[in-house]
Symmetry: C2
Subunit: 485 residues, 2 copies
């Protein structure tokens, strides 16, 4: 593991301060133009030099006819060019002294035939000039901090803490929207493509050292450097969790992976074993991949697997209990001391079994502070799983029904939400244990959105919450076994 971030060969790619850009023109519909559009519209903090054989200006920027004419040696070159001209262009960049490249162009190894030779040649050129490169056949980098985005879709949402290394470009560029809807985001994401030079191993080493990254996600169709991957991941995982989605383990997944990136996938058990050895958490779907990242990055270390469920609705509570139980979590009964301490905050119809079920709508301060704090003060309870139902719009309509003006109703709802979130923030500051929410409503609703912003993961089904808690417990047990507490 490179402990010094800047020693990573990826550092000056992901954090390039100046970029030569090959393949954009003033025709807006080409992939090159679209990607340059991404960079320019994202407030990228560096300088961009379009290179074009004929145009004097591209998208309002001065264009240069070739690498030799560039006014400085940029940190990075990005190429979206027809396959056959990539090598010569890289040669020119090498002569100029450019040391890093993202080759977006496809038609190399993944295309078979001549493409294999072209990729070999490309790598030789890179070696000749000491160029380190991502790709070919990739989407390169999305750095949510510097706003360098060499992918076709626009960044969405705030920078986050997930560092993604992906053998699919789609799972970089098409996830901006997905993550932003959950209030999550990448620190940076890297689409590695054919991995002619830099590969997944380099990426996880980079993210291990990256201060913006709290958790590392990997999308895998097939790992090239198996032994190096295991060694690197094994070092990193106790310090920074790694979650992997591997799709090459099933028959159809293996064929699809081969056809997509030419990856040679291995049997599922082989990868399963490698992940276990390396302390890598395994996800089986994209939903799980990011759910697990979310929980691992936000939740403090649990003392054990004992979950207490807090709800005011019986069905959601029972479903959550069932989901926890089926996923290896435990739901102990409450001690008589805890039951006693809860009494002042519970209606007489409430159940103090586990789930703690208030049975109806309640004092917000009790629900968001007094009850969960009391529960979390019980040493035998390790996690709080709390049901969240704050239907803003309905609350507002009811208030209008009750005679309030639209404006007053909105104010009252906003006030309740603000107060609820403030209470929850206080709770979080006094409780050092993992708190997880679940809801069947949209996580776009204001209250949930703000709880998420506080660092409380809120899942849209208790099944997802239970699986995420299991993974967090598994992760800390792995750490304990490795004596890395």
């Amino acid at each position: 593991m490179k402990n010094n971030l800047k020693e990573s060969p990826l550092y000056h790619i992901v954090n390039a301060k100046s970029v030569a850009f090959y393949g954009a023109s003033n025709r807006p519909e080409t992939m090159g133009s679209i990607i340059l559009g991404s960079i320019l519209s994202e407030n990228y903090q560096g300088t961009v030099y379009p290179v074009h054989p004929r145009e004097k200006e591209v998208k309002g920027l001065t264009a240069y006819a070739n690498a030799a004419e560039l006014p400085e040696i940029p940190d990075l070159v990005i190429m979206i060019l027809p396959t056959v001209v990539v090598n010569q262009s890289l040669e020119d960049c090498g002569k100029k002294g450019i040391k890093r490249a993202i080759i977006v162009s496809g038609g190399f190894k993944e295309a078979g035939g001549e493409g294999i030779a072209l990729e070999k040649q490309l790598l030789e050129t890179a070696r000749k000039y000491g160029i380190r490169l991502i790709g070919p056949n990739c989407l390169g980098v999305a750095n949510l901090h510097s706003r360098l985005n060499s992918t076709p879709m626009m960044l969405e949402g705030e920078p986050g803490y997930i560092g993604l290394a992906s053998q699919s470009g789609s799972f970089v560029t098409q996830m901006f929207n997905y993550l932003s809807r959950l209030g999550l985001g990448f620190s940076s994401a890297i689409s590695v493509g054919n991995e002619a030079d830099l590969d997944l191993v380099d990426c996880i080493e980079y993210f291990a050292a990256c201060p913006h990254t709290k958790v590392i996600a990997i999308y895998i169709e097939g790992i090239k450097r198996g032994a190096e991957f295991i060694a690197a991941a094994r070092k990193i995982s106790p310090q920074k969790p790694i979650v992997a989605l591997y799709v090459g383990g099933s028959e159809a997944g293996k064929k699809a992976a081969f056809s997509h990136t030419g990856s040679l996938s291995g049997p599922d058990q082989l990868y399963e074993g490698a992940f276990r050895q390396a302390g890598v958490v395994r996800a089986h779907s994209l939903t799980e991949l990011f759910d697990y990242c979310w929980a691992l990055a936000t939740l403090p270390k649990p003392n054990g697997r004992n979950v207490v469920i807090q709800t005011h609705s019986g069905g959601p509570g029972a479903s959550a209990a069932d989901a926890c139980s089926r996923n290896g979590m435990k739901l102990p009964g409450l001690s008589s001391a805890t039951r006693e301490a809860l009494k002042p905050f519970l209606p007489h119809t409430a159940s103090t079994a586990n789930p703690v079920d208030l049975t109806f709508s309640q004092n917000q301060a009790h629900y968001f502070f007094d009850i969960p704090r009391t529960l979390m003060q019980d040493d035998t309870l390790d996690y709080l799983l709390i049901y969240l139902l704050m239907p803003e719009n309905m609350m507002k309509v009811r208030m209008i029904d009750a005679g309030l003006s639209e404006e007053d109703a909105q104010k009252m709802v906003d006030g309740l939400i603000k107060k609820g979130v403030k209470t929850f923030a206080e709770l979080k500051s006094v409780v050092g244990k993992p708190i997880v929410g679940f809801t069947y409503r949209s996580v776009q609703e204001k209250m949930v959105r703000q709880l998420i912003a506080l660092g409380i993961p809120v899942f849209q089904d208790p099944e997802r919450a239970a699986k995420a808690m299991k993974v967090v417990s598994d992760y800390y047990e792995m750490k304990a076994r490795r004596n890395c507490n």
Copy 2:
């Protein structure tokens, strides 16, 4: 099974044309007032008679001091009263000649102790007057057609085709929003509570005969009349699919169920066996429950388990392939005839393995019509699983970047969506095979929303799509085994 809908004891409850309402007042914050508010704000098509000992008017309606004073014998009485006065009120209703009741009030069997005796007494009163009742300790009925809604939350969205029978009131009232977000809805939903009289068996028999209901969902904590349930479900399931979420099978689920509704749950294997015997599809989470209902209600009968995946993004395609494979679906290669027939519609970089991967943005008519039609004309392919990515907002921003005005860009995007949806509708009309979509974007986006309205289920992860397809194939195999094709 009651083949005549009107013979069901539930018919005149779910479709009551007149309702006596006990428990609402002019204090807006009580549960009774909230529920009466639901009924009144939903354009309920029937007549409501509030009954209140003192008020002359409740929420603008003439109130009656007791049942005897009601101007007619209503179809139904709904009671949200303190436990201790429920029985006397039901007695009064019985004397008036009312034959059906929803008892929302709790404090009966589920409370233990005296509640058990109170429930017994309630049932005796009902028997004495020939009253059939839902509850106590329930939320009653939400009929999305007549807009009778005896639950606290307001209806959302359009009437749908899912008939829900639920041992949790929350899973009736709190699901209006969930389903509406997916473009789904209940035909009617029934919260059965303690099932003192009418129970889950009565509900599934009602839904079997209900013409608005295409699929029956059940939320179960414990079944009271096991043998009758199996017999009824076994008769119904080949005609109308039944999907059950049973949460009492795990240790914690069992305890939670007991504490919630006093249900005596049985071991998971027992229920698993009963469901299999009865042809009931099992879900393990609420997400699965409604996903399976969605697929079963919309997809035509598949000929087998062969899925072809269509994508323009490799990672989502490979993930979908892996998900299908892990869930028992098959991904055969394409015949050379089909590969040949696809040629005119594919870019040269495309893969005609399975997934069919176009690799980049494409002619919309090809993606939504020519390619899927060609695939579905292949006799060896049974399902189409198609990746959907129509980022409206980004499309619009790109057009504005390319020089279009905001207005023109919006028009152009709307035009593309309209054309795409029209094309897909044509496709659906010529292809008699199941078509399933998946996307990682919000299903609130216009394009997906409209495809869903056409009856195409669109899941937010291919894992969910694969599980739903598996369930559909399992269902039709069960039908075939039972010779009920």
